[in-house]
Amino acid sequence: MIRINDVSKVFKTKAASINAVQNVELNIEQGEIFGIIGYSGAGKSTLIRLLNLLEVPSSGFIKIADYDMMTLRGKELRKARQEISMIFQHFNLLWSRTVRQNIAYPLEIAGVSSAKRKERVDELIKLVGLEGRGDAYPSQLSGGQKQRVGIARALANNPKVLLCDEATSALDPKTTSQILDLLYDINQKLGLTIVLITHEMHVIHKICGRVAVMEDGKVVEQGAVLDVFRNPSEEITRAFVKQITENDESLEVIEDQLDDANGTVVKLTFVGERTEKPFVSELIRNVDIDVNILQGNIARTKDGSYGTLFISLEGSEDKVKAALAFLENHEVQAEVITHG
């Protein structure tokens, strides 16, 4: 659906030229939700703007649906943009228009007759769950409602691709979750390809099938979300994975317990179906060792679960070794934690 070949963007200023995006290669399939994660300044905002040519790439090749984007100019480009819509962190609604009029805007641009516009706006209002708010102005809406208007507006012309520019970063956690559910629903119902950028890993693990990690303008790692969770190869990816599996608070608790724990503290990482098996009780029964659970955390991703569990193994050295071997045989990653 989307093919990005060797795309770069250089911003030239008087003082220096900044390589915002460097030699990016991505292939995004029809109907998938693809996440791009990176810290601010990583170039992800620029990258997503290169897709609909809000920023013009310095070099490279971009194909979206049947459009060879780099060759499009003027009218053709505007036509293509109606099929590649976008939602924004700060919603970017027209405050001078009501909800209905905002949603109708792209239809006006596309030259849809006013009777058909009304019909389509009604459908969209229902789709995003804004019934009864049609005549409100954006200033009268909550953040979540504003983003729903943004989504309805983006879907108005039946686009093939939806680009989400930090679409939930200005929302509280509960609203974020609702908006992500809505995006997932739309993806399932309409088969829409969604590309989203974010700096929050929980957005990725909640709805994305695949993810690309960006740092300093480059894509440093990409793959299925679950694989990236299991085997993050880059330091930055590990940091993002930690965002949801460990928080600073839990680490502090573990540090404290390292001091008074009698046994060996082990960090277990398990992915997919492993999370649902009672391997702790199996471990106790098989190895005859005392297990003290210190901390646990499970994150649900679209295709399975990912969890970490800190336990303290209390017993003789042989028993501890046996326990670690048992865990290894059961495809649970075990890592002995010592003072570091």
């Binding site: 809000l54 009218k75 480009l77 976008m86 405050w95 001078s96 792209p106 641009i109 102005y137």
Partner: protein, 222 residues
């Protein structure tokens, strides 16, 4: 002179002068609004990182605006007499004041328009582009509607300056309350005429301000 308060005021003349002032101001406001928005758009759109980003056109527009904004109005009227005669075939009456009024006020208003347009959220313009809007649509469906409260409050300020300008336009025989206050009030030493003309001018100003305030409040949905 007759006895009694305000007995020295010729009300027919006063009414005619009021009408002339309202006429000159209203027509000048309409044309200033149109010309000022056109100039303001040009100033805004040709500035850096905007749709028509063009330093040369921007420089010339800014120079034009700054020059005509800086010339004192009384001098501008005199400077423009040949121009007025060329397009209107006369230099007398309320109509003859219009070119000077509009050319004096539009550049001032253009700057206010430019400020108003700068206040429009860049993200909204980006969103409009992302939806496939052309430049015409961005101007008329996004920039102008989104800045309308600022455009209206700007024209309100400008219209009050314009009422003041019409009084000065009296020197070229344009008529109006300023002219009446000068000829009947000052030259014939009839203070009552000056007083009444002042009060009526104030009423006109208050009405313009009131209309502007109500419109701005109604349009502002932020």
């Amino acid at each position: 002179m007759d006895e009694g308060f305000l007995s020295n005021v010729n009300w027919d003349n006063m009414l005619e002068a009021t009408w002339e002032t309202v006429y000159m101001s209203s027509i000048a406001i309409v044309f200033t609004f149109i010309l000022g928005i056109a100039l303001g758009l040009l100033l805004f759109l040709t500035s850096r990182n905007q749709l028509w980003s063009n330093p040369v056109i921007n420089w010339f527009t800014a120079a034009f605006v700054n020059i005509f904004r800086s010339i004192p109005f009384i001098i501008l009227i005199i400077l423009l007499i040949p121009f007025t005669v060329a397009i209107l075939n006369t230099m007398l009456g309320p109509q003859a004041a219009l070119p000077a009024l509009i050319i004096g006020a539009a550049p001032f208003y253009a700057r206010l328009v430019e400020i108003g347009l700068r206040e429009v959220d860049k993200g909204v313009i980006e969103a409009a582009r992302s939806m496939g809007s052309n430049q015409f649509q961005i101007i008329f469906k996004v920039l102008l509607p989104e800045s309308m409260p600022a455009l209206i409050s700007g024209i309100t300020v400008t219209s009050i300056a314009l009422v003041g300008y019409t009084a000065m336009a009296g020197v070229i025989g344009a008529g109006g309350l300023g002219d009446l206050a000068y000829r009947d009030g000052f030259q014939r030493n009839n203070a009552e005429v000056t007083l009444v003309a002042t009060v009526i001018t104030l009423v006109i100003v208050f009405i313009f301000q009131g209309i502007g305030d109500v419109l701005t409040r109604k349009l502002d949905k932020r």
